[in-house]
């Protein structure tokens, strides 16, 4: 009887150990530091995008790209006109919008807890893409510079995909309204 009990207890311990020990595997590799909000923060298990493999926007001598860590670039970019904080629902981090006048940078809370760039929006013709296109350009000028747009483009938007981002030129009729660098994480 005692022997049987010991075997049973050993089986329970082994089962529990197997289940818990594999926590260092796939699902556990992205664990949130905070256990309660793990919740599922630990989960998504996808690789974190760090940017730099697509089109780049340069401002104040700083290269900005979707998915780059904004906190590492903020100081070099200089003082923004305003910052808007948007905490995600249910404690999933905070997104920020930094307004630099001619352009804005919107960030998202990445899985690695960094404040990564989601969108860069060029709002006037005081700034241009690294390839020299600004809001005064026509669709033909954009195509002459970047080539044929992606098939997902429409009458109002020319889209160019590169690496893990896309560059969008958004038109209202013949005039360009905005240029956006978009992270594939948010697209």
């Amino acid at each position: 009887m005692k022997k049987r009990f010991l075997v049973l207890a050993a089986a329970m311990v082994v089962t529990a150990s197997v289940v818990t020990a594999c926590g260092s595997g796939a699902a556990g590799s992205n664990t949130s530091g905070n256990a309660n909000s793990a919740q599922a923060s630990q989960q998504t298990g996808g690789e974190v995008k760090t940017g730099g493999d697509g089109y780049i926007f340069k401002a104040n001598g700083v290269s900005l790209s979707p998915d780059a860590d904004m906190d590492a670039l903020k100081e070099k970019l200089g003082k923004e006109k305003s910052v808007f904080e948007a905490p995600s629902c249910a404690g999933q981090g905070t997104a920020y919008t930094y307004d630099y006048g001619s352009f804005t940078v919107e960030t998202y809370p990445a899985e690695d807890k960094k404040n990564r760039i989601g969108y860069i929006t060029l709002k006037d013709d005081m700034v241009s893409t690294a390839e020299g296109i600004d809001l005064s350009a026509t669709k033909d000028q954009v195509k002459a510079k970047y080539g044929e747009p992606d098939a997902s483009s429409s009458d109002t938007t020319l889209i160019y995909k590169k690496g893990s981002m896309k560059l969008e030129f958004i038109f209202d009729g013949a005039s360009m309204k905005s240029i956006q660098y978009v992270s594939s994480v948010l697209a």
Binding site: R4, V7, L8, A11, M12, T15, A16, V19, T20, C22, G23, S24, A27, G28, T31, N34, A35, N36, S37, A38, Q39, A40, S41, Q42, Q43, T44, G45, G46, S82, V83, F84, E85, A86, P87, C89, A90, G91, Q92, T97, D99, T104, E106, Y119, T121, K123, S154, T156, T157, I159, E168, I170, K177, S178, Q180
Partner: protein, 353 residues
């Protein structure tokens, strides 16, 4: 003798199996997030099951319902018994299946659905999926909702046995995991997530142009399903857009909802157009810069909507229902206690929640 031994062996195996299952079940309960410390929103869906299911109005949707409407005000001022089945970033298909599940329990006079979720056409984040799905009771609605919600990285089996997903929390357990092992107190008031603090709306960014304003087919598909289900069950579906200032609600999106409501004869209220009539002051009535309303904002909006529900939707007062009135007396006491508690925390400089 041999038969006796075989029977003993079988009994031993069955007992062993049962004990193993029990241990795993207890372990699963231990490692499942309790959502009782900093992220309370994950536990909201479960609270509905303890309610007496006799509501006049059930709200369904994302944070724009559970943070912006107070059922207490709807009861106190209009005698409307309501409940909010809200969860963080609740997607349209999740709202549909919550609606389907709700209608199995009860037949309210109206289902109110907040349309911000129409902007999402596909599954988004497992973290949010879990907050809506893990605490639903098992039913065909839950199964279908899981299947509609899973991102490419998720597995159905991990919803059936959450221990497969959360096992790594065994090394990160907190006091709350033990303290709330058997039972958890409610964190909402009929689904309303209260916040009394104030953070004025400032520097709200200009809306970013979108390359495409058209809501997706999948989102429409589930909205259609919700409309057809409500029609079949004789429940009025009311579409609303809560007056949250951010994320931005584009006029192009609003036009699509107006057109949809017109096409199918639904009521649609965009409260962003009624901010002045409601009396909202975004320097006082929000706790997070205009994303959600605080207590004073939610009470103003609920008062405004209660009047609409009563006078335009024909939902009459049930104040003469003694049992219901007694239930609400208790609920109002708990509501007022939380107000006092949150103000007291605020005075001490602590987080209100």
């Amino acid at each position: 003798m041999m038969k006796k031994n075989t029977a003993k062996k079988i009994t031993g195996i069955i007992c062993g199996a049962l004990v193993t299952v029990l241990v795993l079940a207890l372990l699963q309960r231990l490692v499942m997030p309790k959502y009782m410390s900093d992220v309370l929103e994950g536990g909201m869906i479960a609270e509905y099951y303890d309610e007496r299911k006799d509501h006049d109005v059930v709200f369904i949707g994302d944070c724009e319902v559970y943070e912006n409407f107070s059922p207490k005000v709807l009861w106190e001022k209009y005698g409307i018994n309501s409940y909010i089945r809200g969860s963080a970033e609740q997607l349209v298909w999740q709202s549909y299946y919550l609606c389907e599940e709700t209608l199995k329990y009860e037949k309210p006079k109206a289902i109110v659905f907040n349309v911000l979720a129409m902007e999402f056409n596909e599954p988004q984040k497992e973290e949010y999926n879990r907050m809506t799905l893990d605490n639903m009771k098992w039913s065909t609605s839950k199964i279908k909702s899981i299947k509609a919600s899973m991102t490419g990285k998720e597995h159905f089996i991990e919803y059936v046995f959450p221990i497969l997903r959360f096992h790594s929390r065994i090394t990160e357990l907190e006091n709350a995991d033990f303290y709330y092992f058997f039972d958890k107190p409610d964190v909402t008031h009929n689904g309303y997530y209260m916040r009394v603090d104030v953070k004025p709306a400032e520097n709200i960014p200009e809306p970013r142009d979108l390359s495409n304003y058209q809501f997706g087919e999948n989102a429409y598909h589930y909205l259609d399903m919700m409309r057809e289900l409500c029609e079949k069950e004789g429940v009025e579906l009311i579409l609303i857009k809560a007056p949250s200032l951010y994320p931005y609600w584009y006029p192009q999106w609003d036009d699509q909802m107006k057109e949809y409501a017109d096409k199918y004869g639904l009521k649609y209220y965009n409260f962003l157009e009624d901010i002045d009539e409601i009396g909202l002051d975004f320097s006082l009535d929000t706790y997070d810069s205009g994303l959600h309303l605080n207590l004073s904002g939610a009470e103003k909006l609920s008062d405004y909507f209660g009047n609409i529900l009563q006078n335009e939707c024909g939902i009459s007062s049930r104040k003469d229902d003694g049992t219901l009135s007694r239930e609400w007396e208790k609920k109002i006491k708990a509501y007022n206690r939380e107000i006092e508690l949150q103000y007291s925390r605020m005075r001490k400089g602590e987080d209100v929640k």
